[in-house]
Amino acid sequence: MGRSRKPSEFAIEALIKASGWSAVVFVLLIFLFLLREGLPTFAEVKLGSLFGLRWYPIEGHFGLVPLVWGSIIVTLGAALIAVPLGVAAALFIAEVAPRWLRELLKPLVEVLAGLPSVVLGFLGVIALAPLVRTSLGVPTGLTTLTGSILLALMALPTIVSVAEDALDAVPKSFRVGSLALGATRWQTIWRTTLPAARSGVLTATMLGIGRAIGETMAVMMVTGNAPQLLLAPRALWSPSRSMTATIAAEMGEVAKGSTHYHVLFTVGLVLFLISFGVNIAASSMLFKSRGGGGRMLS
């Protein structure tokens, strides 16, 4: 560091160092502003009624339970579809497919990651919903299940690419050793490779689910937007309303500074905390397993 630096260079380096902190600053800012607009809720609405079972803002019912339930059910449905499918597809791409097929499948999965959610929502409304309605024989195709199917599609690219990276990171010697002992390729995958990559596969699952909970447009367009509490199997083929969809659908129409406005920010705060928890857990697992985490973000 003894070398003399020009003042301009010093300024540039100072700027770079300041920018390095931008991510931390923004996370804090987001948290602060959600608190600032969300906290008045707790002065305006009794805590007990926030845990109420009815969301009907016009009459002052701000029970968050149906919204949280809606998010849970639609995400659970998506996870049931996307996790087995995604992990299996990752296994196929990483371990089974010949090179040419791999080079074909990977960009296709990337295309899925790039599809705007509103395009999926549009197709959900126009094509998937009628299909769901006729095949289930329900009065409307705008159901939780329709949302789950779309969410599964949106979570798949994350699950496939993170799980595939984890499988790639398993040392070749593991596979060679297993094969040398006389195991078939499938036995090697099932008994050696997959268990060795399990923390990465778990991370992939969590990130995929995290993405599904936070998805907004597609869910809002196809789940029918009825905040109601139904038990698990029936809830799937009935309309529901997620936390994200509630914010997106109602924020445009509320008066700034009203109770409704503050409650919607509280819902945002809950979503922020959920994603914070999921990501801290997922990244701590990834940091532990290989001290990195670059691919988590794609």
């Binding site: 196929f92 295309v111 409304v125 997106a248 920010f265």
Partner: protein, 284 residues
Amino acid sequence: MSRLDAKTSERIAFALLGLAALLTVAPIVLIVGVIAAKGGPAVSGEFIFAAPREGMRAGGVWPALVGTLYLTLGTALVAVPLGLAAAVYLSEYAKDNLFTRSIRIAIVNLAGIPSVVYGLFGLALFVLFLRLGSSIAAACLTLSIMTLPVIISTAEEALRAVPQSFRLVSIGVGGTRWQTIRRVVLPQALPGILTGVILGLERAAGETAPILFTGASFFLPALPKSIFDQTMALPYHLFVISTQVPGMPVKIQYGTALVLLVFVLSMNVAATFIRSHYRRRRQW
């Protein structure tokens, strides 16, 4: 019951895995195919260059297309310099300590925050607190922060891939740290950085939720005149015409979806092309 022999169970397992991969990619081909087939006939020069008419049931998508272009460029203007500088910091300056780790955790979290929460944040900070109003400026700033983690992490990966020996040679012949970064490391990492930037902007271009309350307009007959005006945007326009306007012709809906898809996927193709092109030409 005799157990399946190892060879048979392998064959069954591989078939199932292949089926899963097929089920994963088939919807993509189907989605792109259906939109291209049904939207193709709707798209014409008039559809692209005309404004919507008759309560959006006729005309084209021009104001929405231009709006999305503005939003994407504005987002790039903010997010690229900031994200690049942060990536340079992480790859070239930061030591591996608690502070750096907290930056990485913040980046991962920023990437995971739901897009609609970015919308709330943009509304609270840019629209109301900083009094930018619902405007292109507020929407671009919101989208920039959302795009930042993708740009930082891909750019950092590209910078780290430049071999250490390049830096040592530059320092060895008397270059300062910044000269080394600017003249040696950045040019070598440029293709990787560009790929990351395009992928980040692709996401911003297709997003709806963050701009819902920060700058997107339901319908505007004229193009915005300044960054403090609202604008139409393709994703929001598609949302509006597929859920909010009764009696909307399906042809226009599919046409709009196709224009949006081409806009976004052409960025995807560009990124893939840059990546494969430069990987082949790389000298290390």
